[in-house]
């Protein structure tokens, strides 16, 4: 067990037999631990499996390491949150989890060593099917009607009612984890910013945190606050866009069109920090690349306040319209039990009543932030996911404004970027947990003997949450899909890597 900010020596972790690892992990999950990452890597003595578990109440992490078997008894039947991790492990490393209820590829990618000869075409696999005279199947994608990423959806329907939805992704697979290991060091940060383009700040914060924890460098408070401003601005932009999209799919067009514009205002505030609306080129290991002086901070506070007024006004007219509320309430419900069992994260989990938020559970710095509160409505329907967003808009705007004001007052007090050592210490493991706007972003970095990467694992919140969307559709109608989809708004590329 180790504190989440600490690093551990990777080789000192005992190499367990796989049976012992699975029994221990399942036992921990029963006692309230969460599976944050479970993946394979090429260790010194051969292929290994590593599982990272977290226990938010006492901010402790646990890492279990085992040598990779050819087959093992699947954990999924007794610990459903392992289901996609086990599929991923099977696809990339050829390890068979015996007894896995739905074993098929996740991304249709070549194995990690690139040795697999025949590779199935994307989404070419068996799908869950319900047989019956009046049961029919609806297939959608990969290329969708709107300007969105590709993915394949299969609905099993009885009339208009959806009995089951299977979501098959993988079309966006760019081999990110392999690229992180093989690319020149200066390219790694831009790759992190492109893992999920709408979460550039979230993923770059996670990467920088891993590197800083390994190097033992603690960024200055000013850098931490600037990162926090950027992270909350990213949340504001995306929540505003999604609230508008929910309005659009409900047929409430005023909010839909206003929010489209206000989203741009939030993104433009981010671009005042770093020149890029999408938060590229702001963070770097050691801190941030750009500072704000008192004049800019003052101007940005005003813009945050005015954009917040616009967002609030636009969202409020939607949430005061009875026909909108009637459409949102009770649609696409995910129970608290299902959310906890499947290991959903972030605002989707909070909407279902699971009180998890990395900003409180695993804070990145010790600087208090009174503006933020954990928002946990609990009903688990589209309405709850709308409310989480709406409430977090209040919190994030207040937090960003307060932080910017503080930065303006203390302008020039300390550097925003500290020098980093040329090499990271060898053979260490560090974990970063960041609350991106969708939820928990988990990065695990392990260094090799030369201080390069032995392994780097990225777990985007969408990896956990796509199953939540599939659950939300059960018993609903196909026409509810767009609305449910927008209420989650998950990343395809974050899942596919």
């Amino acid at each position: 067990m180790f504190h989440y900010k600490e690093t551990i020596e990777y080789k000192a972790l005992p190499l367990l037999p796989m049976e012992e690892l699975t029994v221990t992990v399942v036992d921990h999950c029963r006692r309230g631990w969460r599976m944050m990452a479970f993946f394979g890597l090429n260790g010194e003595s051969g292929r290994e499996v590593l599982c990272i578990l977290g226990h938010a109440a006492d901010q402790m992490l646990e890492a279990f390491r085992a040598s990779m078997p050819k087959r093992y008894q699947s954990m999924t039947p007794s610990c459903p949150q392992a289901h996609l991790f086990e599929r991923e492990l099977a696809e990339m490393w050829g390890v068979v989890p015996e007894g896995h209820p739905w074993l098929k590829p996740v991304r249709f990618c070549p194995a990690f060593d690139g040795k697999r000869d025949s590779r199935p075409g994307p989404a070419q696999a068996d799908y869950y099917r319900i047989e019956g005279e009046e049961v029919h199947e609806v297939a959608v994608g990969p290329v969708h009607a709107g300007v969105i990423e590709p993915g394949h959806f299969r609905f099993q329907c009885y009339g208009e009612n959806v009995m089951h939805l299977e979501i098959q992704l993988g079309f966006q697979h760019r081999d990110v984890e392999h690229l992180i290991l093989k690319s020149p060091a200066k390219l790694v940060l831009p790759i992190m910013e492109n893992i999920a383009g709408d979460t550039a700040i979230g993923h770059s914060t996670a990467y920088c945190t891993v590197v800083e924890r390994l190097a033992g460098v603690e960024p200055t408070d000013r850098a931490h606050i600037l990162r926090r401003v950027a992270l909350e601005l990213e949340r504001l932009a995306n929540h505003t866009r999604d609230l508008g999209a929910i309005g659009g799919d409900t047929g409430f067009l005023p909010t839909s069109s206003w929010n489209g514009r206000i989203t741009g205002d939030w993104l433009n505030i981010t671009s005042e920090l770093c020149g890029s609306r999408m938060g590229r080129n702001l963070l770097c290991p050691g801190g941030v690349k750009w500072d704000v002086d008192s004049e800019l901070a003052k101007a940005l506070v005003k813009r945050v306040q005015s954009s917040y007024r616009d967002t609030r006004g636009s969202v409020d007219v939607m949430l005061e319209t009875p026909s909108v509320l009637a459409r949102l309430e009770g649609t696409g419900k995910v129970s608290r039990q299902a959310a906890a069992d499947l290991g959903l994260v972030g605002m989707a989990a909070r909407a279902s009543g699971v009180a998890m938020d990395c900003r409180f559970d695993w804070p990145l710095c010790g600087i208090a932030n009174p503006a933020l509160t954990k928002r946990v409505p609990g009903a688990g329907d589209v309405m709850a996911r709308t409310l989480v967003r709406s409430q977090e808009v209040d919190d994030s705007a207040a937090s960003a404004a307060a932080d910017l004001e503080f930065l303006g007052k203390t302008s020039g007090s300390e550097p925003v970027r500290l020098p980093m050592p040329e090499k990271l210490p060898a053979g260490r493991l560090a974990v970063a947990l960041v609350e991106g706007w969708r939820g928990e972003i988990c990065h695990v970095g392990i260094t090799d003997d030369e201080g390069g990467w032995l392994s780097y694992k990225v777990v985007d919140p969408s990896f956990h949450n796509w199953t939540g969307l599939a659950m939300a559709l059960r018993g609903e109608q196909i026409s509810d899909f767009p609305l449910c989809n927008k209420s989650f708004n998950l990343s395809y590329c974050g899942h596919d890597l």
């Binding site: 249709f108 994307p122 966006q172 760019r174 831009p190 514009r261 989203t263 741009g264 609306r277």
Partner: protein
């Protein structure tokens, strides 16, 4: 109802009369690069080459050459060059008609950042005037990270109001005059992109938005064949390139207007 009208009045009129009025873009924005064309033979450090994460720079006999088709506009070279030979201007109109025209070898023109119609860089591969009245585009995200997609999508909002130019995103390639591709075109999207392109009736145009679609961007050194649109579609099929990671929406709007050769009508 009264509240909606009240809020409508508060939200106001926001559409910009582009391109006759210039958008206000942050001072930290990096636009069209400007290069001083003098020999770098005396420079021993070659700090720009070391700093560039993308290999977008080349030191030729005449000085540095910057390939916008690989550039992330991160300013690493600008900060590194001891002689300050590379600078990024504020000009957002950086679309080009040819891959070659994306390579910057000289200083930026003196008349940049002025309102009005500005032609895209380089020469058109073919006459695009057919698309000048109405243009329907099918957007294909082929491994795109949602950065470019978000900035393509935003053109439909009030500020940009793409519809007023007669341009719309079509839901099917059969209804489209061309495709707009984002993303590096990973292996799993290769066939879907080809199918979409083939399903689009002739004559059709292709717009590549973002450094990924142009050259594979940050994903070009992997195993998933992410080398951009021209690695998959027939050579010469891309009509307009819009560089950036991701490009600013105004740059994308400018690129789409160039593709439709609408600028000619505006004059």
């Amino acid at each position: 109802m009264f509240d909606i009208i009240k809020e409508r009045i508060h939200q106001g009129y926001r559409t910009l009369d582009y391109p006759f009025k210039m958008p206000v873009i942050t001072p930290r924005f990096a636009g069209l690069p400007s290069v001083t064309p003098t020999s770098c033979a005396g420079c021993e450090s070659k700090a720009c080459l070391k700093a560039c994460p993308m290999g977008a720079l080349n030191i030729a006999e005449t000085g540095p050459e910057l390939d916008m088709g690989r550039c992330l506009f991160c300013r690493a070279c600008e900060n590194a060059c001891p002689e300050k030979k590379i600078a990024f201007t504020h000009e957002h109109r950086i679309a080009a008609y040819s891959r070659e025209a994306l390579i910057v070898r000289g200083p930026a023109p003196a008349d940049i950042c002025q309102p009005g119609v500005r032609p895209a860089l380089g020469q058109q591969k073919r006459d695009l005037s057919l698309f000048a009245r109405s243009l329907k585009l099918r957007e294909v995200s082929a491994g795109g990270c949602m950065g470019c997609e978000a900035d393509v999508n935003v053109l439909g909002t009030l500020i940009y109001d793409l519809g007023r130019f007669g341009i719309e995103y079509a839901s099917s390639p059969r209804h489209a005059d061309g495709i707009l591709v984002t993303g590096p075109v990973d292996e799993n999207m290769r066939k879907a992109l080809l199918d979409t392109w083939e399903a689009t009736p002739e004559p059709k145009i292709v717009i590549a938005v973002g450094v990924c679609a142009i050259s594979g961007g940050t994903f070009s050194c992997g195993r998933e064949n992410c080398l951009g649109v021209e690695d998959v579609l027939p050579k010469g099929s891309v009509d307009v390139y819009v560089p950036g990671c991701p490009p600013n929406p105004w740059s994308i709007l400018d690129g789409i207007l160039s593709a439709a050769w609408k600028k000619k009508r505006m004059k």
